[in-house]
């Protein structure tokens, strides 16, 4: 890795350009320049990824990955992995060049960049240019001697180089004159270039240098004033007036300068090497060297102060017309027009967020001075607070925003009301509050007579978001409409090119499918996760509902090891502000898993946590009875039936009447050594009089009845009950009730020839005995043997460790690990990590790996 760290105007960019363009440059170059004051980590990474992709020249990798889309949520680590994968995929050497790194003002991005730089594959070289030393923790690279530094001293022009520069610029100067110039500028590149511009064609170069030398003024200011003074009036005006832009094209320059012909001037300046640089091959957009632009801007403020706000306004107008809203807002702010800026931001914060510029929105929000309490901003603040999990604050801001919306003119009012309704919808969804959701949805999904393309697009976005949120809440309450709404949302999002919304709808759909056969649920969850993986979002928080639902189904069907893996993936993807409804589910699944493995001590706190979270939700939770039932049952199983009875007595009447609570009473009675009482308790479920959440409660009841009959010595009744349980469990291959109720003995006692479900019985016994369930497919006939290196990596696949972490454990490069993993997948005929682990277990490879 190479770092060029030197002050403004030292010639870093010129050096990079020269190096990049030199003949015999064998490396492919991925070049990017960090935008001014870049506070948005995602924007930085997308630009970097685009540069890396462009260098490879290929439209897409062999895996058919989609071009990266920005998301409202952003996972930096996943992005780093993606960039590393792209770099590894390059054949031949590649250089990653990042200029103006000091403009990266996102601490997250810097941390992520450090991760990238310390994990570079051997074929990649990084070159960074910056004005100041950065907080990149590169000690290990330095210690390993893998870091080269170029500093200001190295970039200084020597006297001889000064003479060469002057000669190349067509300047005739005596040796003494050149020496004087070198001494005065101290070999500073920018100074020399500025001097050269003024000297070229100057009638008396020696005099110029003498005067310059005799002045105490700072180099930049003196030469800048000289150079500017020498320009014709129209050029001066152009330079000054466009200095407040980060980038400029002919049209925009004409607008600010108030006269035509700017493009010609800009091209001429670039040709004269006067600190103007074109940004595209067609030379339509230009940028000034930062130092140059900064000085011009100061001069503009000094000479034409009354014009500055007007210039910003004109620029803002142009950017707004051309759809570059963030820039428009920035310039409006710079003009000091805070109310206008607030209005623009409020009107566009939703679409900016959907475009993945949430951090930009936040940066724009921060730019408002503290005293400005514009009600328009309430909407933006609400969105930010909601995204960061501060629900009460968000609600307060939304109230303000709503009042404000009522005061706006009609053309804005609809859009604002829709944005407010959308946020209220998200808020209600987060709180599990259905009434609130329905209230907003009626407003949002009503058809709209849209006027402009922009409004149609906005309308579609909002509609998709509304459908997604509505479906989500309906799902958590077990309502039938959930599926319809989520499907509609997914389809709409797919059509309008909003992959983020599409994935979220599908994820929620998987989540909502809980009442369906498990096979359906699993298929939908896998579909959603696969789509997320295609976009590189498989570790994003938005996939959590699908991940946990998948884990849940696996516990129900007895695939405990797999469920464990998915549960781990879920907790990794979760963030601090994950909603209570999801965390509740995670606890339930963890509890289920523990209980199935007979670890009732560990299961109880999980069920308790789920119960508590359920009580926090605004509406009663669909699984509330189930959770309470399991709390009571687990207490009884732990030998504390008295506690359970006491808790039972405290329950509300509707709960007590449910089938699930009937089952709990049955377990308590069994624990108290009262099988007759147990049969009494369970009767309501068996004869169908007690309402149940689903048939699984009946399965549980049958098994509990079987246990009671066993205690009473009625073996025929016992076997009948077990047989009925098997019949119910057959179609879904349900395992959980058998494991949780501890019915192994019952199953073993069942004569094989007396059951119509021998296969299921055998499978159940397998699971309950602790061996892994039979694989769905037979192992491939010619499964290639894994090499020792691959086996070593395989051992780590069931863990949480990422590829770089595995590499660290094995003391090899991440690139080696990736190569091994690719080979492992190929040999096992799988496509992802958890499938590989499952396969490896089926083939008993993991134990083999352990013993080597």
């Amino acid at each position: 890795m190479t770092i060029i760290s030197a002050p403004a105007g030292s010639g870093k960019t010129s050096l990079l350009r020269a190096w990049a363009g030199r003949p015999g440059q064998r490396r492919r170059l991925a070049i990017m320049q960090v935008q001014r004051d870049q506070q948005d980590a995602q924007q930085f990474w997308l630009a970097l990824l685009a540069a890396v992709r462009q260098a490879s020249g290929a439209a897409g990798a062999a895996g058919g990955a989609e071009p990266p889309a920005a998301t409202p949520e952003f996972n930096g680590r996943a992005m780093v992995d993606r960039v590393l994968a792209e770099l590894e995929g390059h054949r031949g050497r590649v250089a990653l060049v990042i200029d103006d790194l000091h403009e990266l003002h996102s601490p997250d991005a810097l941390a992520q960049l450090t991760l990238l730089l310390t994990s570079l594959p051997p074929n990649a070289h990084a070159v960074l240019a910056t004005r100041r030393d950065l907080r990149l923790r590169l000690h290990q690279l330095r210690l390993a001697g893998e870091l080269a530094e170029i500093r200001a001293e190295d970039l200084r022009f020597t006297e001889r180089e000064t003479r060469e520069l002057l000669g190349a610029s067509g300047v005739t100067l005596s040796e003494a004159g050149a020496a004087l110039l070198h001494e005065r500028t101290e070999g500073w590149a920018a100074g020399l270039r500025l001097a050269a511009i003024s000297l070229a064609g100057h009638p008396d170069p020696e005099q110029f240098v003498a005067e310059f030398s005799g002045s105490d003024r700072t180099v930049a200011e003196y030469l800048m004033a000289e150079m500017l003074g020498r320009q014709p009036d129209d050029v001066q005006q152009l330079l000054l007036r466009t200095s407040l832009l980060d980038r400029v094209n002919g049209e925009l320059a004409d607008l600010l300068a108030g006269r035509p012909g700017s493009e010609r001037i800009l091209l001429g300046l670039e040709d004269a090497n006067a600190f103007v640089v074109s940004l595209d091959p067609e030379r339509t957009w230009f940028r000034y060297h930062h130092l140059f632009g900064d000085l011009l801007r100061l001069e503009l403020r000094r000479m034409l102060p009354e014009e500055v706000p007007a210039l910003h306004r004109r620029a803002a107008g142009w950017f707004a017309e051309h759809g570059q809203i963030a820039d428009a807002i920035r310039h409006t702010q710079a003009a000091g027009d805070w109310p206008d800026a607030a209005r623009l931001l409020a009107d566009h914060s939703f679409s900016l967020t959907m475009d993945g510029q949430a951090q930009t929105v936040r940066a724009l929000l921060r730019a408002f001075p503290r005293g400005v309490d514009d009600p328009a901003l309430a909407l933006v603040r609400a969105g930010r607070d909601l995204a960061e999990g501060r629900l009460d604050e968000a609600a307060a801001y939304l109230a303000v925003a709503e009042t404000y919306a009522g005061t706006t003119p009609p053309d804005r009012q609809r859009r604002l009301r829709v944005a407010v309704a959308s946020l209220k919808l998200s808020l209600a969804a987060r709180r599990g509050h259905l009434a609130g959701v329905l209230e907003q949805t009626r407003f949002l999904v009503s058809p709209v007579t849209a006027q402009t393309d922009e409004e149609i697009e906005l309308g579609n976005d909002l509609r998709a978001v509304a459908l997604m949120n509505l479906g989500t809440v309906e799902a958590s309450l077990g309502l039938a409409d959930a599926e319809r709404h989520l499907r509609e949302g997914a389809v709409l999002a797919g059509k309008t090119g909003r992959p983020y919304l599409e994935v979220r709808c599908l994820v929620q759909l998987g989540f909502a499918s809980k009442i369906h056969p498990f096979a359906t649920v699993q298929q939908r969850c896998r579909e959603a996760i696969a789509l997320a993986e295609r976009y590189g979002w498989d570790t994003e928080p938005m996939t959590v509902p699908a991940l946990i639902t998948l884990a849940s189904t696996m516990v129900w069907t007895g695939e405990f090891d797999q469920a464990e893996l998915w549960l781990q993936r879920t907790t990794r993807a979760m963030q601090a502000d994950t909603g209570a409804d999801i965390r509740l589910l995670v606890h339930i699944v963890s509890g289920m898993l523990q209980a199935c493995r007979g670890r009732h001590h560990e299961a109880l706190p999980e069920f308790r946590a789920a119960e508590y979270l359920g009580s926090q939700l605004a509406d009663s939770h669909a699984l509330a009875n189930q959770v309470t039932s399991w709390v009571l049952a687990t207490q009884a199983r732990l030998g504390r039936p008295g506690e359970a009875r006491a808790a039972l007595a405290a329950l509300a009447d509707e709960q007590v009447g449910s089938g699930e609570i009937h089952n709990a009473r049955t377990v308590i009675a069994l624990a108290e050594g009262d099988p007759a009482g147990a049969l009494d308790a369970v009767r309501g479920v068996l004869d169908g009089t007690a309402p149940v959440i689903g048939y699984v409660t009946v399965v549980e009841a049958q098994l509990l009845a079987g246990l009671a009959h066993h205690e009473l010595g009625d073996l025929r009744a016992r076997n009948q009950a077990v047989e009925r349980a098997l019949a119910l469990a057959e179609s879904d291959r349900l395992v959980l009730p058998f494991a949780m109720t501890g019915s192994r003995e019952l199953l073993e006692a069942l004569p094989r020839h007396q059951t119509a479900h021998a296969a299921l019985l055998a499978d159940l016994l397998d699971v309950l005995h602790g061996s892994s369930p039979a694989a769905d497919q037979p192992p491939p006939p010619d499964a290639e043997e894994l090499s020792p290196g691959e086996l070593r990596v395989l051992r780590f696949l069931p863990t949480n460790l990422s590829r770089p972490e595995i590499a660290g454990q094995l003391s090899v490069s991440p690139n080696t690990v990736s190569t091994h993993i690719r080979s492992i997948y190929a040999k096992l005929g799988v496509r992802d990590r958890s499938a590989a682990v499952q396969r490896a277990r089926d083939l008993r490879l993991l134990s083999a790996a352990r013993t080597r």
């Binding site: 002050p7 403004a8 105007g9 004005r131 100041r132 500073w188 920018a190 002045s215 105490d216 003024r217 700072t218 180099v219 930049a220 200011e221 003196y222 800048m224 004033a225 930062h290 130092l291 900064d294 000085l295 100061l298 001069e299 403020r301 000094r302």
Partner: protein, 94 residues
Amino acid sequence: MRGHLPAGDHDGMDPAPALYVIRIKGHLGAMVLSAFPALDPHHHGAHTVLTGLLDRSALYGVLAEIEALGLDLLEVRQVPPERKSPGSGDSRSP
């Protein structure tokens, strides 16, 4: 935190403003000086000395501006306000 200074309109996070003396190589002309409106300039020999009351954020803002303009920073010094003599000039600067 300096409790003796006059209360400014700042929140608890920012330390109270302090008096800073910043020395830069070369004479700063009107163009560059306009970047430091909060500071008082004086020429001292071949250097320019900028003096002013700055809180922490403002100080780093000034330093960032110096970096951006490619100026040669020679010295940054914080001067305790109790020892500042009233009237022009800081008795501690050479």
